[in-house]
Symmetry: C2
Amino acid sequence: MVEISRRRAIEDVASDLFRERGYAATSIRDIARAMSLQGASLYAHVASKEDVLWAIVDRAAGRFEVAADGAERDAETRRPGDPAEALGALTRAHVDVLTSDVDAAGVFVHEWRSLDPGHRDAILSRRDAYQARFQRRIEDGIAVGAFAMTDPAIATSTLLSAINGIAAWYDPNGRLPANRIADHLVELSLRMVANP
Amino acid sequence: MVEISRRRAIEDVASDLFRERGYAATSIRDIARAMSLQGASLYAHVASKEDVLWAIVDRAAGRFEVAADGAERDAETRRPGDPAEALGALTRAHVDVLTSDVDAAGVFVHEWRSLDPGHRDAILSRRDAYQARFQRRIEDGIAVGAFAMTDPAIATSTLLSAINGIAAWYDPNGRLPANRIADHLVELSLRMVANP
């Protein structure tokens, strides 16, 4: 239990540093220093800097996936087969995951490229599957005339880029609370694909 | 003249490497190797790695600014005082700059944070002024009822994040030509702010 929380503390400090300075510019020594530890003693808990990055990215990916599962289930209960309801719920879930731990989510969004090839490939497949959930809803919405005719792949990438932009500026102590930001992003996203 | 083009060649190679691997993970030696030069001989042309980054970012910023000037002028000639015309023109100009040199524009979008403090502050001011052009058009559109009531600052950040997403996936040899991508992005961006 102590080991688990020490490991988790390392990941939290690393998320903060990776988001602020970037993964490549942060060393294991920097992480240790931010925790008032010796670099060598950090290696009792982590195998490498990439091991820490992978843990952060893997956990963030899991949180996005679980949130999207719940969002799709809830949307289906509220308004079965309604593409706008489902896309809105997916968007809100994505914003919620981003704002609830913006350091880790920001590392996921910006630093997955820095993973070792095996991990990068694993994350790429999961990103593709995750993105496909959004694209499916956009395609459904186009098919039933709820959304405008458009290129679904471009609309999906554009929508996810739009939401992920939050990772660059969100501040928990900022002007707007997370749930208001989510309201705005859901509104902007749905209007983006809406059939005018 | 020879010196100017050698310097420019260094920046092009560096843009490519910075976009692919990231600025922090690329060394002057990597840039030299990609040009079949010795690291030391590169220092005849550039003062430091940051000097190269600054040159790339400064030039890209200038291209965005010049394109936006032209876009606003042309929109004003075509449809004076029309916020949708102006915002569409700014969006198209931004996409055009991104796709015409996606390596340099991608470095501008993703790596400006790696600049030294003085350069970073200078670019931040120019980014703010550039972003304000988009926000002004969104505010104008809301004021005249052409755009939906929304938070103009969030709409502006979201719109620019949506467009900048292109830098992550655009491939000059990809499925769609740059001008079709621009058409899609203008359409998605204008719908995002439109008054339904």
